[in-house]
């Protein structure tokens, strides 16, 4: 809150036109400098909602929550004394009287005016752009309109093959449309990529089923009222019933122009290095500002401009000079980055070093100074993991390895290429470019304030909160800085246990500790929290496979506590095990009848089984009782446990099948059912290389060969998809199971909590080679021990739902109230495509 040292009338009135990303950032930065309350702030936005994160606009398609995109809620403006007017376009600027007027007729006077009007999508004058079904891609409204229209469309054309065009194409594909991108130039992203890079990107995108048309000049968008096809100058034609135009941006300088402020020939409000327009009381920042002939179409320079103006308004003297336009993006699913002097054109005789790995769809190019001592810049397509490192090396002029190709060779098993460590960077090197946070600032928090986790550093500096590209470097900085101070780096679980997961596992096993309280009393401090409780619960389950609710229900994560996944509104899902995806007609009928009886919504899951959703907590034991009677058992869909082993139909039916994949999948699923691990586990068995079970996307995947089975490990779909790696070939079933036992048990014993097998492998010293040695060659001599430990877990397996159903004490916990039989009265459902789905009050607005 501002203190009242300055009376309202003495306060300078700062008025901002445009409540977009940069306008918002400006407020945030000015507030920080406004402790004395020298300023009063008013901000106008044309859009109906307060500023949101346009950079992550496409995410809106994925989780459709406006709230997540919001940069700050409306209350934030209020709490900080900012007068916010949304849905008000400023149409008049009277420089003589220092006032602005909105289209609603509201006039306010300003002491200083900030124009943060951004830009709009440029729409080229192609005949037909006015048709219904032709869109641009800039605002939440645009996205809503596109989503709606896409319901009746089937084929989209995106005009423009730049960064935004490709992003729009991704969204069109996600909406289920067949999509083509049309680029005028002979290659994609001509400003960021060279010919080979653009070619690599094109083939990678085509692998995602995106059609790319180059050298295409669109002559018209034809159709009767709505688009039907596009005609090109070369006489070709493309069918499309929806069109998204993404042909560049146009700075919104109309207000400035009207008030006779200087604007550029091709648009943009002209500013000097202090971000002043030719009227010293008016500044322009963000995408509407034309600085030294340049419009910056990225958010980071806009933030920097905001910073410059705030400094200059609060007595400082800052200048915006040039800005690094390096970027890293994920386009459709392909990493693309360019940094520094990407084309090697700033210095004479610079040399380029290139890796063009067509088999992997990876292209990397770096430009080196003539003397081979400095990295000037480069571009990466298909694999941009080295981006941050390379950017820092280029920016800070670090010396290079003798053979610069080592910089981009990337990760080989167990060794990293880049060699440079963030920790060796000078203190003033920028680690987070979005928020301009230096290595020095971060290290002083770690070293002087004792901050040792990423979240606190994020909270303090905002580093990592923008594009999150620097998060891996933050992690490295913490680890290395702790190591440097001789502090042991151990990923301890939380403040209550000074042990790593692996150490706790050993303690539990060796001392035979069976309860959380005992472990905490003997080896921990305090009374626990939501981090250590589920971690220990998982360890206890992995160590002894005892029932997860007996004496330990309150340390289980919520899904384990009720043996079902909690869902919006507070109901639960029921997923019985269907090993290998094979199910009898009778069992299908049981599921159908049960779902009808309890009014449950049914859906086939991505794991080849059936989900019944919308069960109340008090119904769960009754539903399971009936399921168990019909021969079902728990599917552990709620646990960090073995989920499914998917299978294809295999040699019994399929004309290509080499072996019986269904039988083998069932055998394996039943072997490991109920096995609890640091994270969930999934498997797959395919009858031949056509791989219909997607086994290579699983934690373990088995694929039939002429001679036997190939075993793949450590793959997953999910957030960071990764293909499984080949561990051993042509195995007989017995050997395969032996290797699997060892592999799974080794994972359970050594991985950190909530690390999938892929993450575990990625962190493993020595990588796949090491894992092969341990599992296949038994280099540590622990093979037999691992097999025995696995066998013990398998021996004590029992279906946990069966036990609950038969135990009145456990059943009692499945009620909503302790003092009433009533169900939760706040549960509400609505009809939806002939089934029922939850409609609780709390999230009506984002559940459309």
């Amino acid at each position: 809150m501002t203190s009242n040292t300055v009376s309202d009338s003495q306060k300078k009135h700062i008025v901002i036109v445009g409540n977009g990303m940069v306008g918002y950032k400006f407020c945030e930065k000015l507030l920080k400098k406004n402790d004395k309350g020298d300023f009063r702030i008013t901000i106008f936005g044309e859009e109906t909602r307060p500023a949101y994160d346009r950079v992550h606009l496409s995410a809106y398609f994925e989780d459709s929550s406006e709230e997540d995109l919001q940069l700050a809620p409306i209350e934030w403006y209020k709490e900080n004394g900012i007068e916010l007017h949304t849905g008000e376009l400023i149409t008049e600027l009277d420089r003589d009287n220092q006032t602005v007027t909105s289209q609603k007729g509201r006039t306010v006077s300003y002491d200083k005016l900030i124009l943060a009007t951004g830009s709009s999508a440029f729409v080229p004058p192609i005949p037909g752009v006015e048709k219904k079904g032709v869109f641009v891609y800039r605002t939440i409204e645009d996205l809503d309109a596109i989503t709606n229209y896409a319901k009746k469309a089937s084929k989209a054309a995106v005009i423009g093959g730049g960064l935004l065009g490709l992003e729009a194409a991704k969204s069109a594909m996600d909406l289920g449309l067949e999509t083509s991108v049309i680029e005028f130039a002979p290659r994609l992203m001509p400003r960021q990529l060279d010919e080979i890079g653009a070619q690599a990107l094109k083939s990678a995108l085509e692998d995602f089923n995106l059609e790319i048309l180059l050298n295409k000049n669109t002559k018209q968008i034809a159709g009767n009222g709505t688009p039907e096809y596009l005609d090109f100058a070369d006489g070709e034609r493309l069918d499309a019933d929806m069109v998204i135009i993404s042909a560049g941006i146009r700075p919104r300088d109309e207000l400035a122009k009207k008030a006779d402020l200087e604007v550029g020939e091709r648009g943009g409000i002209v500013v000097n290095d202090r971000m002043e327009t030719n009227d010293p009381n008016i500044f322009a920042i963000g995408e509407s500002a034309l600085h030294r002939g340049m419009i910056y179409g990225l958010v980071a320079p806009g933030y920097e401009m905001a910073d410059v103006v705030v400094e200059n308004l609060t007595g400082g003297d800052e200048e915006f000079t040039e800005f690094d336009m390096s970027t890293k993006l994920k386009l459709v699913g392909v990493d693309v980055a360019s940094f520094g002097d990407a084309f090697g054109e700033t210095e004479e005789n610079s040399k380029k070093v290139i890796i063009d790995n067509k088999a992997k769809g990876v292209y990397k190019r770096i430009n080196i100074s003539e003397d081979g001592k400095r990295l000037l810049g480069g571009m990466l397509v298909g694999d941009a993991d080295d981006y941050n490192m390379l950017l820092q090396i280029a920016k800070n002029g670090f010396s290079l390895p003798p053979d610069p190709i080592d910089l981009i060779i990337g990760e080989r098993d167990g060794e990293t290429g880049a060699g440079q460590k963030v920790y060796d960077f000078p203190d003033d090197s920028i680690i987070c470019s979005c928020e301009s946070v230096t290595k020095g600032e971060i290290c002083s928090l770690i070293e002087e304030e004792g901050m040792e986790d990423i979240d606190s550093i994020k909270g303090c500096t905002k580093a990592g909160t923008g594009c999150s590209g620097c998060v891996p470097m933050l992690d490295d900085l913490i680890t290395q800085s702790m190591k440097a101070r001789g502090k042991e780096v151990r990923k301890v679980i939380c403040e209550h246990f000074d042990y790593t997961r692996q150490e706790l596992y050993d303690l539990i096993k060796v001392k035979e500790i069976h309860t959380y309280d005992e472990l905490l009393d003997e080896h921990g401090t305090g009374n626990g929290c939501e981090k250590c409780k589920p971690a220990v619960a998982s360890l206890l389950a992995s160590a002894f496979n005892e029932h997860v609710l007996k004496d330990r229900d309150t340390i289980q994560d919520t899904n384990d506590r009720f043996l079902a996944n909690i869902q919006r509104g507070g109901t639960y899902s029921v997923i019985p095990r269907v090993p290998g995806g094979e199910i009898t007609p009778d069992k299908l009928i049981t599921i159908g009848q049960l779902a009808k009886k309890y009014g449950l919504y049914t859906k086939i899951t991505g794991g080849q089984r059936i989900n019944m959703m919308g069960a109340r907590v008090d119904q769960l034991p009754n539903i399971w009782e009936e399921l168990i009677e019909a021969g079902f058992e728990s599917g552990h869909a709620y646990g960090k446990a073995l989920r499914t082993v998917k299978s294809c139909v295999g040699s019994t039916w399929c004309r290509y099948g080499l072996h019986e994949s269904v039988s083998f999948a069932i055998e394996i699923e039943e072997r490991y059912r109920g096995l609890r691990a640091p994270h969930k586990l999934k498997g797959g068995v395919s009858g031949c290389v056509r791989e219909c079970a997607e086994a290579q996307a699983k934690d373990f995947g088995i694929i039939a060969t002429e001679e036997g089975w190939n075993l793949f490990v450590c793959g997953n779909g999910g957030t960071n998809p990764q293909h499984a790696r080949l561990l051993a070939t042509d195995l007989d079933e017995e050997t395969l199971i032996k290797y699997l036992d060892r592999f799974l048990m080794f994972y359970i014993k050594t991985a950190e909590h909530l690390n999938r097998t892929s993450t575990w492998l990625n962190k493993m010293d020595g990588g796949l080679d090491y894992l092969k040695k341990v599992v296949v060659e038994d280099s540590l001599g622990i093979g037999e021990e691992l097999e025995q430990e696995m066998q013990q877990l398998i021996n004590v397996y029992a279906c946990e739902w069966t036990e609950v159903v038969n135990d009145p004490e456990l059943r009692k916990r499945f009620t909503h109230f302790v003092n009433s039989e009533d169900a939760d009265p706040s549960l509400k459902f609505k009809d939806y495509r002939e089934q029922k789905v939850p409609a609780p009050a709390g999230w009506e607005k984002d559940s459309k």
């Binding site: 309150t554 919520t558 302790v818 003092n819 009533d822 009265p825």
Partner: protein, 115 residues
């Protein structure tokens, strides 16, 4: 606030053993839902509204309890927003605080203090 001073009425909720150890359960009082926690490791009882301010889910009673730097808290089962069981404040975010209630145990019964 957790003071017993302005309690007008003690609502008799349920027996002590109806509540899981180191965990919570939901109590119905007229139209209200109140989450009551038996923090037996500390020998303390707490109560707060059952509705999580984040997405308005009726869920806090099913949350996991614990402490950070000695402050007792409950983490919502939905997205793990944690609320202090003393002040009701959101510890790891900017949600509104939850209302907390005093709790007393007498003759094997748990009572919630209402004002």
């Amino acid at each position: 606030m957790q003071t017993t001073q302005n309690v007008n009425q003690w609502f008799k909720a349920a027996k002590v053993e109806d509540f899981p150890k180191n965990g919570g359960a939901c109590v119905k009082y007229k139209d209200q839902q109140i989450a009551v926690f038996n923090f037996s490791r500390r020998g303390e009882w707490y109560a707060c509204q059952n509705m999580c301010p984040h997405k308005k889910e009726m869920a806090l009673a099913r949350g996991m309890i614990g402490e950070s730097e000695n402050e007792p808290k409950v983490a919502c089962p939905f997205h793990k927003k944690a609320f202090s069981l003393q002040s009701g404040e959101n510890i790891n975010g900017e949600e509104e605080a939850v209302t907390t209630y005093p709790v007393k145990v007498e003759d094997g019964y748990v009572y919630i203090g209402l004002s």
